[in-house]
Symmetry: C2
Subunit: 222 residues, 2 copies
Amino acid sequence: MAQRRADNIRETLEHLIITGEFSDGDRLDETRLSEHFSVSRTPLREALQMLAASGLLELRPRRGAYVRHPGIIELVQMFEVMAELEGMCGRLAARRLTDEDLIALKGSATACEKALQTGDADAYYRENEQFHSLLYAASGNGFLAEEARRLQRRLQPFRRMQLHVRGRMQQSMAEHQRILAALEKGDAAVVESELKGHIAVQGERFNDLMAHYDRSNKRRTQ
Amino acid sequence: MAQRRADNIRETLEHLIITGEFSDGDRLDETRLSEHFSVSRTPLREALQMLAASGLLELRPRRGAYVRHPGIIELVQMFEVMAELEGMCGRLAARRLTDEDLIALKGSATACEKALQTGDADAYYRENEQFHSLLYAASGNGFLAEEARRLQRRLQPFRRMQLHVRGRMQQSMAEHQRILAALEKGDAAVVESELKGHIAVQGERFNDLMAHYDRSNKRRTQ
DNA sequence: AAGAGAATTTTTGTATACAAGAGAGTTGGC
DNA sequence: GCCAACTCTCTTGTATACAAAAATTCTCTT
């Protein structure tokens, strides 16, 4: 991919869609957008196709590009898959972990703890993401790591919301510690189940989460 | 997606890449290809980007599109993930299976058996693919089913090769029967482990498979 | 003669121009 | 007065034209 402009536009649009600037079902007008970005329709269309490929848009032939936000059912399903992938990463990592991996993971966990103590949810979110990415890499399966990152990215805004649920950050941190301990012992089964739970809880607690989601939706729709 | 021409071209090119008409590292010339397909470069480029999005090409900015075949390591990793996803589908399906799902799966298994008895490897391949697709759907998780199908599609040519390994078809059929039996009993753990094994064996027996692969590669390179 | 640098050529990336399908609005018929 | 068909417009899909960056070749110098 990655011709300069098309890729920049993709990134910007992706952000706008993910942060909810565009609502589900919105139609993206090529001409309007190309004027907005001061480019021709050619690179803009390339951006739209990339977004469609990653599932953020639906391209209906001769009809246009429509924003496609996952509904609650689809979100639960995505978290279900994410839990499985993370569990798999953990299971493999427990067997294949290198010393460098462990050091990096511990460093990341420390950074998480620091963010937790200062109460900086954004920083915690970033460090948490880093912790999980390191774990994916530690699985020793590059393809799995890529797939996990892809889905992580897709679920990004929803995982972020989770952190605003009362007490979730503390619980998340405790889970990280248990995961690290089990990893160090090489206990694949525990790592796998801890990680599955660590993610699955986000799907299961969706009532809380959707309350937040709906309210932020309403706020921006008004 | 799916503007008429770009999508047709994508399909054709995908076939050419998957069947090995293009080798790893081959550079695809936009002008040459657009002349070959009697279209302009615009829809052709769209096709290239779709192929890049699904991992069949690498688009290096200002350098062109390069065919990207998975190496043996990546293939093993992909099968490892496929096994996990199939196992997950099976586990969920054991819990969520409807009567219609079971009937459809049984029908598909019967069709597999018929193909096996007539020794028609192509038919067996098709019916086998159908059996697995039905299983994905039976998981009750549409997102998981889509992801599984995506990866199945990507591994298609390599799974197909497996069937030419001596005795693999018979073994595969027996595994299907055991999976069906466990599904009917609702034994999620057995279904999951049977399916994991059913796929993982393909990754593990990669020495046999690669012997075939290399020979067919050599044959067409000459 | 070999290597570095400049000019040329080739190829990708972007803009614009053109074609054609979908949708809305209008008009004619019943 | 309502429905249907036709036209007109608007938007997408495709072709072509243009710009800019690599790659290649040629030349000049050492």
